[in-house]
């Protein structure tokens, strides 16, 4: 008892937990008028403020889609930049409503940390980047190398497991912040940079000499990056999940930001249900939103393909191929359950 009292007292001081309102997250958000979204402190293509200070990126657009579904206004989002270390506490303590921060869905985060993940917005895998001058062709040649990695990530754990199982030696150089990892790699403090492949492309772009670095072919882990919410609020989980699926479904229907108004006149019952134009539909209101929620999402940010290409795909400097993130009908893994 003494122990719990002590840790509890300290925890309160540290986490700053106040007595939170007991209403559901969705009701709280509607009452305060914006979505508080935890994003990366700065990862090109995923979440980064632009020259005017406005947040841009793949994860940011997901937050904007959620805001569009709730408020019919994609701009009603406030962003909390979180480090790999601070992100979970931020979500647990209620500082953010949703964590869209290229976070890997793992069982322990789902259970012990008390989060819920359901919709995977990016299928990723961990890779390695090295300077071309080292003349490395495979990750299996990396024995003895100094490896830069961000602490508190699944990346850090996969790295240890991979080198261990392949009987390779390495020297970990660990930093808490992504900017510090980048600076150390740039300064030559380590030979190898490891993170999710999408992150490697983004980081390489930010280096002063991107052409002198090569990303190795090995992918050593599965990294399903998914938005997370707190456990125990199923209604809110439903909203954030279905907003994600709406993006994917819109791409499958061929509905884009530009042509969504034309589709409102469609006679296709599937599309009518999706866009809320069917008479007496309850799909949107059952979700706790309005019936034109999916229309608002597409109108606000476009479909999954548009969001992808604009931020990290061919329309961006990153030029990441769709790969696993293509629609299921095109050989990828992006698959939305039916809106019915």
């Amino acid at each position: 008892m003494k122990k719990t009292l002590l840790s509890a007292a300290i925890g309160a001081a540290v986490l700053g937990i106040g007595s939170a309102a007991s209403a559901g997250t969705l009701d709280d958000i509607k009452a305060k008028g914006f979505v508080q979204c935890g994003v990366n402190t700065g990862l090109a293509g995923f979440a980064q403020p632009d020259a005017s200070g406005a947040w841009k990126g793949f994860d940011v657009d997901y937050c904007r889609a959620v805001a569009a579904a709730i408020f019919n206004d994609a701009s009603k989002v406030k962003y909390t930049p979180t480090t790999a270390q601070s992100r979970f506490t931020a979500l647990q303590s209620g500082e953010v409503d949703i964590l869209a921060r290229n976070t890997t869905w793992t069982i322990s985060r789902d259970t012990a940390l008390g989060f819920n993940f359901r919709y995977v917005n990016y299928y990723d895998g961990q890779g390695f980047m090295v300077p071309k001058s080292l003349n490395v062709k495979s990750a299996l040649e990396l024995s003895g190398a100094a490896v830069c990695v961000q602490s508190g990530t699944t990346t850090e754990l996969n790295l240890a497991d991979y080198f261990r199982s392949n009987n390779l030696q390495y020297n970990p150089v660990v930093f808490e912040k992504l900017e510090e990892v980048n600076a150390a790699y740039q300064a030559g403090r380590c030979d190898v940079y490891t993170t999710d492949q999408s992150g490697l492309y983004a980081t390489r772009l930010a280096l002063s000499n991107p052409d002198e670095h090569v990303i190795l072919p090995e992918i050593i882990s599965k990294e399903p990056l998914a938005p997370a919410v707190r456990q125990g609020d199923d209604k809110w989980l439903d909203v954030v999940t279905w907003v994600g699926y709406a993006l994917v479904q819109a791409e499958e229907f061929g509905i884009t930001q530009a042509n969504v108004d034309e589709f409102k006149n469609s006679t296709n019952p599937d599309i009518k249900r999706f866009l809320g134009t069917e008479a007496d539909t309850k799909i949107g209101t059952d979700l706790g939103l309005t019936n034109d929620w999916a229309y608002n999402v597409v109108k606000g940010v476009g479909n999954y393909g548009e969001v992808f290409e604009r931020n990290i795909g061919q329309g961006s400097p990153l030029k990441i191929a769709r790969g696993l993130n293509a629609l299921w009908s095109k050989g990828g893994l992006q698959f939305a359950p039916p809106v019915r």
Binding site: A12, L15, G144, A145, E156, R164, A187, R230
Partner: protein, 397 residues
Amino acid sequence: MTDKAVTAPPPKRDTTSLLYDPKVRSIFFQVLTVVVIVVSVMWIAHNVSSNLARSNTASGFGFLNGRSGFDIGQSLIAYSSDSTYGRAIMVGFLNTLLIAVTGIITATIVGFIIGIGRLSKNWLVAKLCTVYVEIFRNIPPLLVIFFWYSGVLAILPQPRDAIQLPLSTFLSNRGLTSPYPIWGEGASMIPVAFVVAVIIAIAFGLWQKKRQMRTGKQLPTGWIAAAIIITLPLIVFFVVGAPLTFDYPVEGRFNLSGGGTIRPEFVALYLALSLYTAAFIAEIIRAGIKGVGKGQTEAAAALGLQPNKTTQLVVVPQAFRIIIPPLTSQYLNLTKNSSLGVAIGFPELFSTGSTTLNQTGQAVEMISIMLIIYLTISIVTSLFMNWFNAKMALVER
């Protein structure tokens, strides 16, 4: 009339009321304080336990026995990703102690030199020391750390172009790599010999003191003690057959492999904290020496003591009494500032602790563990310094 007004007795107060009883008053306020503290602690505890229950997070300290799964760059004890979270925290704790102990020793020595230098009659020395103090005292320690890490150590060459120093030692941006001693059979006798030598030296010192009291004759005690402490282990080393080989660093594909390496993160943190704290210690030393009355020095001179004997026997012992209490604060500051190492990736307690926190999500437990460890280090340092202070204090007869 006026006379009457002056001599009139003051209006009678009911002094028997409990309200005016100082004893009752003091008890009342003490009880009030205790009640306020207890109620607020209970309120906080209730708040957290209900919030923890609501957030569905696991709690308890069982996670400490789980496999950590992450590697640590620098460790004083055997550690791998198969070790437990508890051991990872232990690695961080020892690294914190390492920084604290090495930093405190260096800061004290540098601080002493600078502090005394600032009092020097040599204009150049005094001014140089003043500049040192004013520079380091007025920069935040985090900036000093980054200055060493990014400004000085990061511009060292890549390991492939490492600067070769004498004795197969290499300097690069991965640190200072030197041959690593490997002790063979019988080597365990050497530290034993060292301890024995220290005991002999102390006994010799005590005997010498007695002899001086009796006869007034002095021996060069320091030199003789040093000779004992160095020669005895050396003799044992050769008697057991010089069981020492070296692991020399060789150039690998990426890094120098083999040998022992002092990583730049450690060096940056060590230098920054030592030099930063030394500036404060220098001022404390100066204040302590200035605090000894001029009459003391004059009296010593009148007795015919030479200037260096005056400093040694009259000024320093008295200055110590002024120096020790604020010195304790500086030692504690240095220890606590070591947590800034997290910014440059030095795996001290706060760094390995927050990684553990992040991998397990046990925020409340980890923060309390770290708080308790820092508190314990500080209290132990404090207790030691208080004991030292009591020993040095003026014994009034």
